[in-house]
Symmetry: C2
Subunit: 230 residues, 2 copies
DNA sequence: CCAAAAGTGTTCACGCTACACCCATGC
DNA sequence: GCATGGGTGTAGCGTGAACACTTTTGG
């Protein structure tokens, strides 16, 4: 081999999996099932294998715990501190994933000892996983302003109020309902459905779905999703 | 070792090195000095070693070609396609670096066959390095709006016009001089020096330096650098 | 005095903010 | 008919865009 004299390393992917439940942003964690630190809470992860890319590995890990494919997944960054894993040198590529919390496979979660935690009530995590989560949160906040990734966290159909609650959870502050509604509607990316959700009011709130095709069409024409001024 | 049955991989860092020369954004490339593709233009790179972090490796690579330390350096992303390097599976962590083009060590550059290229007149590059450059450019455009990284590309002292030329090069469009000046001055991050630069006008333009201490102080108080509305 | 770049003033339009107000409906 | 969340109207303010204008000084 050309590079045979060079060092080689173990590579892992670790996934920060976000979900949104009513009005709280949540994180999916699981109890690590091998040494070291077996039994501690951890991000869902796994080692990279010879014949897959890092994205492949991340999707594999996610599918294993959630049973889901076609999840929103984004590479976050690499963590390579020498002693981040006390057992051996492992370089971790962190990913962050957004999933609709209602979609996951309950049975799989139980099997893996996985659990959803509210973002500001996290347990202790192994290694540098807490740093990774913080970085993922920063990334989520940044990206949610300029890309329509929020919809990945909601069910197919949602009310404007639900959407606003999601952004309030991400940015941890109140958003003026009237202005938020106008802003999001003015982009013309939501399809209004003929049904109303009457769980929260007598009047009922219209349900909407995100028009991904229109978003892609507009994006190709130079449109940019932008909620920075909310 | 705990993980002995797992696969291990070669890891490389590749650095996208930006510089700014008068009114053009430039990239530092070098002629690859080992097989495969020896003699082709390439990003400056190297393999990760056992006892260093990825950041260490990137600084080592940069110091080798430029002779500089204390360079602005930022992790970009990981490239792990199976066949990106035809010789063997190598996973590359791309970095992007910003340097003041006047600072570099000419002798080292000559020694390594390195050369500055204008960003829109790049030669053919090995492997996926062109993709890496494109990603770095996008990152630079994004980051320059919300962080004062432009100053890394300029000499210690600069005129407002030079600063504007830099942003025009990054965003590849004209910026209204009057509005740019007001915007940048309103942040209060520039120290005006008692000297004028008379190279470009009879009247002369005041030189300024970036007040990093003040930036950090303001940032701690919640201030955000923001040129998004330029 | 004049050219040419540095730097200032001013108007306009647009978009966010804040808050008042109307709407629909189950009880 | 009234309480409740859904949804609309609107005045005011801040800021970017555009461009006219003033300043400085070497030739």
């Amino acid at each position: 081999m050309t590079y045979s004299e060079k060092d080689r390393f173990y590579l892992a992917v670790d996934c920060v999996i976000f979900g949104f439940d009513n009005d709280k942003l949540k994180l999916l964690l699981y109890k690590r099932d091998f040494e070291p630190q077996k039994g501690m809470w951890s991000l869902m992860g796994g080692f990279l294998r010879k014949n897959e890319t890092l994205d492949d590995a991340a999707y594999r890990v996610l599918a294993r715990i959630t049973g889901l494919r076609n999840i929103y997944l984004d590479q976050l960054s690499v963590f390579s501190e020498l002693d981040r894993d006390p057992a051996d040198r492992v370089i971790s590529i962190a990913y962050f994933a957004l999933i609709n919390i209602l979609d996951y496979d309950q049975e799989l979660l139980r099997q893996y000892g996985a659990q959803w935690f509210t973002i500001d009530e996290l347990p202790d995590l192994i290694f540098d996983h807490y740093d990774i989560v913080n970085r993922a949160l920063r990334r989520l906040k940044r990206k949610a302003k300029t890309q329509p990734i929020g919809f990945e966290l909601l069910p197919e159909n949602f009310t404007i109020t639900q959407l606003r609650n999601l952004y309030e959870a991400i940015y941890q502050r109140q958003i003026e309902p009237a202005n938020f509604r106008r802003k999001i509607m003015s982009m013309g990316l939501l399809n209004r459905l003929p049904m109303k959700d009457k769980n929260n009011s007598r009047k009922g709130a219209f349900l909407y779905s995100f028009n991904k095709e229109k978003y892609e069409m507009l994006t190709a024409k130079g449109f940019s999703f932008d909620l920075s001024g909310i």
